[in-house]
Each structure stands twice: as structure tokens, then as C-alpha cells.
């Protein structure tokens, strides 16, 4: 099975774009319910993406929270014609990359010491663990492509990178995951 296919696809978002615009509008006007719906709609993927990039649950929780706090601060200025998710994910992934780079420089924890994710049967846990050995930049684009299902063009815009850079990081990341998968772990 193709590795990218094994990483799978997210289920479709339950809320359509016009509904989300309605939620944003209501939240802008003070509806706590609308804000909570927006939060619960987007929290899981934001947190998972942050975790997969940082491999640190506490950092991922902080990063996801900070992203939503940024959303609250910017709510009045937010253009409802734009989708909320990509805007949020840009904050999450950029912060997660920065955190991971800073942590690497500080040499706190080696990647192979990080705990593995909860096992869900088959070899999903192996795949997720192997993400940890990728450099943060490659890890982020793999997460954005195969967890959050952005196209390479959308990823380029999210991260402010040339399209070619995104494609090459994606290729190198997936190749590294494939190669690593051929090595029997001991």
C-alpha cells in the first residue's frame, strides 16, 4: 500500500463553508455558543497537528491554545470570506515548527526518547512514531498534507514558501518514512 495512502485521509469537515462563516459572524457579535462551536470544530485537528510536529503533548496543548487565543484577539478583524481553518493552521504549524527548532537547538530531548502515540492497531503508531525522526520542516508539510489535507499550493501559501520547496520537503519526508519503514526495528 502506498505510504501516503496508509497515512490516510481525514474525514470531511462536518460544517460547510457558509455555516462556518455564520459561526464566525455570530462569534464576532458576541455569541459564546458560536465561539464554542468554532473551537470544538477546529481544536482536534489543530492539537493533533501541533502534536505531530512537536511530539510533545504539553507544547502542543499550549500551541493550540495560543492559536485560538490569537483567533479571539483577531476576531473583529477576521475576513469571513476566508476560511477559518487554514488561518488557524498557519498559526499552529508555524508555532510548532519554531518550538521544535528551538528545542532542537537547546538539545533537551532526542527524538528517539519521545513517547510513542497511543496505539490504534495496525501500524499507525509506527508511522506516527517515524514522523518524529523527520526534521521539523518536513514533518510539518507531511502533517499539513496528510493530516489536514492541504494541497501543496495551499501549504506553500500557509507557510510562506515556494511551491517547489513544499514539494521537495514532502518528497524527502515521505521517502524517509518509506525507507525507515523497510528497516526492522529491534
Amino acid at each position: 500500500m502506498d505510504l501516503a495512502a496508509r497515512l490516510g485521509r481525514m474525514s470531511p469537515i462536518g460544517t460547510s463553508a457558509p455555516d462556518e462563516r455564520g459561526l464566525v459572524r455570530a462569534a464576532q457579535r458576541g455569541s459564546v455558543d458560536a465561539m464554542e462551536r468554532l473551537y470544538r470544530l477546529h481544536w482536534p485537528r489543530a492539537y493533533r497537528a501541533a502534536y505531530l510536529v512537536t511530539r510533545d503533548a504539553s507544547a502542543a496543548e499550549d500551541i493550540a491554545q495560543e492559536a485560538f487565543l490569537a483567533a479571539v484577539r483577531a476576531l473583529d478583524r477576521f475576513d469571513r470570506r476566508r476560511p477559518f481553518g487554514p488561518w488557524l493552521h498557519r498559526i499552529v504549524v508555524n508555532r510548532a515548527i519554531d518550538w521544535t527548532r528551538a528545542r532542537t537547538l537547546r538539545g533537551e530531548v532526542a527524538a528517539d526518547e519521545l513517547p510513542s502515540v497511543q496505539a490504534n492497531g495496525d501500524r499507525l503508531d509506527d508511522l506516527v512514531d517515524r514522523l518524529a525522526v523527520l526534521p521539523p520542516d518536513q514533518r510539518a508539510v507531511v502533517v499539513l498534507r496528510h493530516l489536514l489535507e492541504y494541497t501543496p499550493g495551499e501549504i506553500a501559501e500557509l507557510l510562506g514558501l515556494p511551491r517547489g520547496t513544499v514539494n521537495s520537503r514532502l518528497r524527502r519526508g515521505l521517502d524517509a518514512l518509506r525507507d525507515d519503514g523497510r528497516v526492522q526495528s529491534t
Binding site: G8, M35, R40, R48, L52, Q65, V72, I91, N94
Partner: protein, 338 residues
């Protein structure tokens, strides 16, 4: 990834909602119809107005000029900003209703990217504070000047000069380090908006302008040398860099291609959308339109973020001029700035 769950996901979500809900409860909801406060404008040259006195002949000139452009009487004092929003002027913060707050004994100030904080320079100190004047952190450095705050909503950097060295520090005051390949000239650096968030332009002692990524050190491009620039500014979408020198004005695209060149006497300039507002010693133009002309000497031009107003400082007259950019000419003069 349908089956993937991050650790402690459910409880993390509930903890997160408690924090987000509290922050949401503190915000003021957007009313149905509200004139948005324009975000802020920094007028760092205004502090110099305090030293200027106006002589009688000067007053006569000013009166005739005002009549010529349709301003009979300048407002005696700043009681409201035509542009709305807030203005930083040295160590002072001017609100849209004309009220002022003294932030401190700072010689220069500028806004954080989204107007939540202020960065300020003292002689030997860099300071980050709230618009209310509460200090968040300080950094002791010699001869601090031209602090400029850039970045994204999630991550910011401050560029500033310490003597002739360019420094970059994170928005929380950590990680301060020297940056830039060459000693810096005393002109404000400029963060590139949009795209890569930490690309910075600065001028060196030889008049060259360097554009580089402050995270990676990668050089985007460097201009040739010349007279010391007086202003570096990016277009709002970050596609074009403006370099103003006393005798030249140039624009470059992000790859460093020289896009436009002009010769003459220039004081300042700024992007208004895709047009250039150019300030010469005695006149202000926007594209091909003449917006204002005087026999006095103008000092600085600043654009309101919505692009509808230009603020021009006129130290000799102790005035600020608010000049509308669209429609028929509108000039509002406010006196007694010092």
C-alpha cells in the same frame, strides 16, 4: 489519520476551552455597524516639533498658504484625529479623540505588528510596553535607536540599532543577537510584510540596502551603495521595497530587480496602496497628483493603515497636516503640536 488521537486529547480540549472562553468573555463584541478604529500610525519625528519656534514672517507665510489651500484657521489644539486610530509621537500616545498619554521618557517609539504593544528606545535601553505605559521587559544596550517590530500573530521579532550594529530580538525579549553583515547606518530597518515573516531590510554605512532572512541569514538581495537612505519601506503586500535617499528614490522587487528610479530632492515617501506618496521639502504628491504645497519645510509623511489619510509633519509651523488621499483635496491642519 482518522484513527489518530493525540495524547490526552479530550481533557486538553476542555482545558483549552476554559482558557479560550475566558479570553472571549473579555473581548468587546463587534456591534452591528461600527466605524472601525483605524489601526495605528507611528509618527516618530513629531517629538522634534517641540524645539521649533515660529517667527512672525513665518506666520504670515503660513496664513497665506492656509488661505490658498482652503484652511482659514488651523485648529488650535489636537482635539480629534481626522483619521481616527492612535498615533505614537516620541514618548506620547495620541488617541482618536485627541486625548494624550505620556508613555515615558522615550526618544522613539513604534507599534507591534497588530497594535497591542509598543517598543521604545531610550539612550541605553530597549523597552517593550503596553499602550497604557506598563513595561513588559527591558534590554540594556548602548545607543539604542530605530526599534521596529515585525512578524506574525503568533511570533514576532524586533529589529533595532545599538550604535552601528543591527540587532534582532524576539517579541518577548529573548534571543537578542547581532544581525546583518555590515555596520548599520542610522536609518530605521523595515520588516517585510506578508510572505516569509522575518525578512528585514536595513541600510549600511556605505548606503547599501541589505534584504535578508533574519532566521536563516539567507541574503535575498543587496543594492548598490550611494547616499545614506532616509527611509526604507515595503509595500503592504511585501512585493516592493522603497528606498528614499536625499537625492534619489528607488523601488525594488523582492528578487532585487530595480523597478523604478527617480532623481530630485526628497524628504520622505510612503506607499499608499500601489501609489507612492512622495514628500519633497515643500510639497507632497501622490502618484501624479499634487496634494499640498508650501513655502515652509515639511519633515515626514506617514500613511494611515486604511490609506485614506496622510499625516505630514511641519515643524516650522508647529503643525500636523492630515491630508486626504481620495476625492477632492482635504487638508486638516492641527496646530500647537509641541
Amino acid at each position: 489519520m482518522d484513527g489518530f488521537r493525540a495524547p490526552d486529547e479530550t481533557r486538553a480540549q476542555e482545558r483549552g476551552w476554559a482558557v479560550v472562553a475566558a479570553a472571549y468573555a473579555e473581548r468587546e463584541p463587534l456591534p452591528q455597524r461600527r466605524r472601525r478604529l483605524a489601526p495605528v500610525v507611528a509618527a516618530t519625528g513629531a517629538a522634534a516639533l517641540a524645539a521649533v519656534a515660529v517667527t512672525q514672517p513665518g506666520r504670515a507665510v503660513i496664513t497665506s498658504v492656509r488661505k490658498a489651500i482652503g484652511i482659514e484657521h488651523a485648529r488650535k489644539a489636537l482635539y480629534a484625529l481626522p483619521s481616527g486610530g492612535r498615533i505614537l509621537a516620541g514618548g506620547w500616545l495620541v488617541h482618536g479623540d485627541g486625548s494624550t498619554r505620556r508613555l515615558g521618557d522615550y526618544r522613539e517609539t513604534s507599534w507591534s505588528p497588530f497594535g497591542r504593544y509598543v517598543v521604545a528606545a531610550k539612550a541605553n535601553e530597549l523597552v517593550a510596553l503596553t499602550p497604557g505605559g506598563e513595561i513588559r521587559w527591558t534590554l540594556a544596550r548602548p545607543d539604542v535607536g530605530f526599534p521596529r517590530w515585525g512578524g506574525t500573530q503568533a511570533d514576532t521579532r524586533i529589529a533595532y540599532l545599538s550604535g552601528d550594529r543591527l540587532h534582532v530580538v524576539a517579541g518577548d525579549g529573548t534571543g537578542d543577537h547581532e544581525a546583518g553583515p555590515s555596520p548599520a547606518a542610522r536609518v530605521a530597518p523595515a520588516w517585510r510584510p506578508g510572505g516569509a515573516p522575518f525578512t528585514l531590510a536595513y541600510a549600511d554605512m556605505r548606503g547599501r540596502v541589505w534584504v535578508f532572512d533574519t532566521q536563516t541569514g539567507r541574503l535575498r538581495f543587496r543594492t548598490s551603495g550611494g547616499s545614506r537612505p532616509t527611509r526604507l519601506a515595503w509595500s503592504r503586500n511585501g512585493s516592493t521595497l522603497l528606498v528614499v535617499r536625499p537625492d534619489e528614490i528607488d523601488t525594488y522587487d523582492i528578487s532585487g530587480r530595480h523597478a523604478a528610479h527617480g532623481r530630485g530632492r526628497f524628504v520622505d515617501a510612503a506607499f499608499v496602496g500601489v501609489r507612492l506618496a512622495v514628500l519633497r521639502p515643500h510639497e507632497l504628491t501622490l502618484g501624479t497628483r499634487m496634494l499640498f504645497r508650501t513655502t515652509g519645510t515639511l519633515r515626514q509623511v506617514v500613511v494611515s493603515p486604511d490609506g485614506r489619510w496622510l499625516l505630514v509633519t511641519w515643524p516650522q509651523a508647529d503643525e500636523w497636516l492630515f491630508i486626504g488621499t481620495g476625492g477632492r483635496p482635504r487638508v486638516t491642519a492641527v496646530a500647537n503640536i509641541a
